[in-house]
Symmetry: C2
Subunit: 391 residues, 2 copies
Amino acid sequence: MEWKLEQNGVASSPAALTGSAKAVFRTLAFSGPSTRPQIGAVLGLSRPTMSAAIAELERLGYVEMIGMVQGPLGRRAVQYRIGPGAGHVIAVDAGSTHVRLRVSTLDRRLLYSHVYRLPVRQFVMNEEISRAVAGQVAAALAQAQPEWGPLRALGIAVPTRVVGPGGDAEASRQNVVFTAFRPPSGVAVVLENNVNCAAVAERYYGAAEGEETFAYIQIGLKIGMGLMLGGQLVRGRSGAAGEIGHLSFPLAPGMEPQAGEVERYLGTESLMVRVRADWPVDAGPPPGDTAELLFLAERGNQAAQRHVDRHAADIGAIVATCVSVVDPGLVVLGGGFGASPLLLPRVRETVNRLSYAAEIRSSLLGADATVLGIERLAIERALSAALGEDA
Amino acid sequence: MEWKLEQNGVASSPAALTGSAKAVFRTLAFSGPSTRPQIGAVLGLSRPTMSAAIAELERLGYVEMIGMVQGPLGRRAVQYRIGPGAGHVIAVDAGSTHVRLRVSTLDRRLLYSHVYRLPVRQFVMNEEISRAVAGQVAAALAQAQPEWGPLRALGIAVPTRVVGPGGDAEASRQNVVFTAFRPPSGVAVVLENNVNCAAVAERYYGAAEGEETFAYIQIGLKIGMGLMLGGQLVRGRSGAAGEIGHLSFPLAPGMEPQAGEVERYLGTESLMVRVRADWPVDAGPPPGDTAELLFLAERGNQAAQRHVDRHAADIGAIVATCVSVVDPGLVVLGGGFGASPLLLPRVRETVNRLSYAAEIRSSLLGADATVLGIERLAIERALSAALGEDA
DNA sequence: CATTCAGCGTTAGGCATCTTAACTAACAAA
DNA sequence: TTTGTTAGTTAAGATGCCTAACGCTGAATG
C-alpha cells in the first residue's frame, strides 16, 4: 500500500488502522487513562496485539504515555491516554436564554468553556441565536492552542427538531442556526435536538447512567422527550420523535382535540397563569415564576403545594401515555420545572396507576445536560472521523 | 482443530463456518435461489471466497445445487438454494379464534400448513388455546418428512406481551401457552406478541415492505401497536411497548383518566354497542358485527358511514398520539376493523391535522399477517441456530 | 544482598480468512 | 473455427489476530 502524500510531503493520516487499534482508541476515549493490560482485558486482546495497536496509535499521536502504574505485584505497567494528535471537539448548546460552549479532548478533558447569556430571551430559533453561536465559536477558535490538535467535530444542540440526511431540512428550521454562522470548513458538524442531547447526557453521566432504555422528559417553558431504546437515540422518520409538546389534547368522547395543546397546557407559562388566577388572598403574594412556586411548596405553603401536586398529576398522565407507547421502564424528569423532586411522589403514583410499572427519577445534571450531551455526540463523531470511518 | 465426535462416530455439525459462508447462507435464505456471482456481487466477496463458502455449506447439506442459469453471454452459472440439511421451522399463531400453523424451510418454502378453528372464542390466553397449540404442533410433527431436515426453531405468536430474558414472565402471562403444551426438547422456541409479529410481516411482505421505520396499529376486538424503528422491533423494557390499548383516557382538564379505557372505547365491542344504540329506525336492521357495518357503509348506508367516520376520527386521534411520540413516518392499519380502506380518508385527515405528516396505509396481509411474522422470526432464530451463533 | 516470583512487554511462529492474479472451462456470436 | 465473455479453480500473498516462549522489572523473601 502506498501512502497518499500531501503537497508539503507530509504523509496524510493513513487512517488504515487495524480493528484492534480502533477499539483501543475508543476504549481510551470512553474509559479514560488505562494501562495496556486493562484495555486488553476489557477488549479480550492478547498482549502482542495490544503492543501493535498502541504502536500504531502512538505513531499518529493518537495516544500518549502518561506514567506508570504499580500493581500489588510484578512489573509496573505503562499508562496511556488520548494524545494531542487525536484532536478536540467544540460543543455548543444554542439555547433560548444562554449559549453554552465547551471545548474538550476526545477523552473529555475540558480545554475551554464559556456561558454566554443572551440579552433577550428568544422564543424560537432565529438569527439572534445564530449570531451568538457565531461569536462564541469564534472566541473558542481564537483560544485554540497547538497542543489541542486538530478540530475534529463541531456539535450544536438546537431547540428545533433535526431531520436526518434526506429529510426536509427546510421544514424543521434546523438550518436557521447557520443564518449568521458558518462552521469552519472541513470540520464534521453534528446537529441534534437539545432534548435529545439532554437524554444522552443523562444516559452517560446522569440519572440514567448505564441504562440502555429510558425516556427523558423535559418540562419547562416547553415540553419534550428524548427517547433512548436499546442504547440508540430514537429520532423518528423526520426527527420529530419525542415532540410530545405537540400531542393533541384533550382526548375525550365528544371533545375536539387540538394539536399542540399539551405544550400550551403543561408548559410553565400556562401553569403560572393558573396559579395566579387561583391564589388565595391570605396566602401572601403569588409566586412570580416556577422557581418561587417550588420554593414556596418546599417551605410548606399549602396553595403552592396544591398547584405543584395538580401539575404533577397532569404530567403523570402524559408520562403514562409515553410509557404505554414505548415502555421505557425508566423515565427521567428534567427541565426547569420537571427536575424538581417535589413532583416525584405524585408522578409516580399517577404513572403506576395508569400504566405499566416504570421507575421515575429526577434529572441530576441541570442546565449543563444539553451541552454535555452534544459534547458526547460530537466526540463520537470525532472518533469516527479520526479513525477514517466516515464514508 | 479437531472435530467433536458423537457416539455413533458421525461428526457433529462443526458449526465453525467462516463469516463469508454464514453471510452466503443468510443471503440464500432471504433472497431465494441465486447463483454464485449474484451472491458474490451482493456481499462483495471474491470468486475464490464464494467457492470456499459454497463448498463449506454444501458439505453440511446447508445448500444444494438446483440448476444452471444462462446469462446473455458467457459460461452459465450454477444456481443454489437452501438445502435439506438446513432444516425447517414451525410457526404457530395462537389466536383467540384460530390456531394457524405453517411449517417451512429456512427459505420459506411451505412444507405444511393448517388452520384450526377453536370451538369457542377465547378472550384471554388460557389452557384451551394451549391445548389447541399442542394438538396442531403434534399433527405437524407427525407429518415430518426426512427431507425436511432437522427442526431448528418453533415460533409461537401469543396475544400477551412477551418479556425478554430476565423479565418477569409470570406477570406477562406469556407462559400460559405452555400449560398444556411442551415444545419438543432441544428446539429453540421463539415467543413473540402477535401484534409485533404482524408488524414484522407487514415489513417484509406487506404494506410496509422494505420500510425500516413504521408503526403497525391493529384495531379489532383489541387495540395494539407493533413498532419498528430502524429495522428493529421495539419491545420496551418489559415487552409492553405498543400496548396502546392500555392508554389512559380521557385526557382533559378536570377529568380523571382511567387506565385501559382506550381499548374499551375503541374496541369493536363498544363500537357496536354505540352503533346499535344510535341506529335510525328507518335505516333497516342494525348491523350485527363490524364486517356488516363496513359492508353497509361501502354500499352507501348513511348511518353506517356516519359511525365508521366517527370511529375513524377517534382512531385518528390515537394514531396521532403515537405519531407524536415516535414519529414513525408510516402507519399501517390492520386488524378486523382497522384494515378497511374506508377508514383511510378520515384517519389521514385527523392525523395530519393533529400531528406531523405521516403516511397511512391499510394492511395487505389480513389474517395471515401474524403467522407470517412469527415464521420470519422463527427463521431468523433458526439461521442463528444452524450457524452456531446462539450462545 | 541475592533470590524468587508475578506481572509487563516483545519476539517468533502459526493460523484463519480474506484478497489479487492467472489460469482453465464453458458458452454465444461472429 | 475463432473470439470474447462469464464462471469457476488454483496459487500466492496480505492482514490481523492468536499462542508460546523469553527477557525485563518491580516487590517480597531469606
